[in-house]
Amino acid sequence: MTTWSFFVDHRAEILGATLDHLELVLIAMIIAILISVPLGMFIVQRPALRAIALGVASVFQTIPSLALFGFLIPIPFIGGIGKRTAIVALVLYALLPILRNTYVGLTGIDPVVLEAAEAMGMTRAQILFRVRFPLALAVILAGIRTATIITIGVATIAAAIGAGGLGTFIFRGVALVSDALILAGAIPAALLALLADLLLGLVERRLKVS
């Protein structure tokens, strides 16, 4: 059986797995953004917290993904087998790129602009929300773009703990030594990553203020 005819015969399953995969990624990304962006805004003026937050987020990145899924299984509430555990792991992975870019974006503003803002009597909150944040948006989005691509890849491993998605084909393909099955997981995952990169790249370019 050729790979192509396998794809055609199983197109409904592949599409279903792709949608499952996309769901995992979207939920994880939304949660990661909701945590990282406000946290990044919060640590801008607080050096002590900044070191801790960036340090902790870096540690998550260093744990091999398969191990991280394994570690989470025995943890009550967030652990166990299935989607929820996978989403927690994906969020932990996505934190660092978004948090780091949020911080870098907010602190990388032209000092002359910040001086003018302060001298004209803008409050700290006004400077953060009306000056720093809009000017940092393109950099923050670049972090979200990186995190999304990482998450699409890592989410294939989530199948190992029963979360579904495109990884299901890959693990089955490895077990059965079937290239067609592996490719049925790998190709849609690669296409998703390329598509996400392209779309977010377009948005990023529109947000860039030089």
């Binding site: 032209d110 002359v112 602009v113 001086e115 003018a116 803002a117 302060e118 001298a119 004209m120 009597g121 803008m122 409050t123 006004q126 000056v131 809009p134 000017l135 203020v209 030089s210």
Partner: protein
Amino acid sequence: MNTKPALSVNKTIEFCEVSFHINDILARSIVFGISLTVSHGETLVLLGRSGSGKTTLLRLMNGMLIPSQGKVLVQERSTRDWDLIRLRRGIGYVIQDAGLFPHFTVAENVALIPTLENWDNSRTAARVDEMLQLVGLDPREFAHRRPRELSGGQRQRVGVARALAADPPILLMDEPFGALDPVTRAELQREFSALARRLGKTIVFVTHDLREALLLASRIVLLEAGRIVASATPQEFLRLDHPEVRAFTSSLSMTPGASA
């Protein structure tokens, strides 16, 4: 002594034995024993070399820095006692490179303080047009541009318009024309000099350019290494016999064509 209220009202900004230093940061931000009065409606030029403390004095006036010793009074109230946000909104501030917000249009930049002060839209819009015309920019042509679509001189004009938008009684200017090419600089200096006379605001202007100081100042205060070494009208200033004054006046004669 100036004990009569009529006289003290005249003091818009007053430095009383002010010193400023930070133990570990930037030797250049140090000033010592500064006593200085800026009267209502005058254009005081702070002249000095880089690192002489000019910008530090300016930043002490709007509470961006608080004195280590002594006090700075603005409208007879110490900067320690002012609500700094209120203080700064009553003081226009223009800096080198303008510091315009790149994500705002020209109109939004000029409207910044009126917006923060919740002026209604029609009043703000009218004020923006008025300010742009004041600095020689046609609102129809420039209001909707972004700062990156302007030349250096145009950006600085917008910077002046933004500083004047809420009609502050005091204007602080930190080498506003320093980064411009000589032709544009001369053009803006001439126009600003006329504008300053018309507005009747209290202006403190920082520069290292004696020519600019002579053109704009009603009084020149010369700083050297964090201390005031001279204070005089432009006419008197040129005749002063102080080594640092001579260093500046001799820089004037070093122009091509003036035979040595």
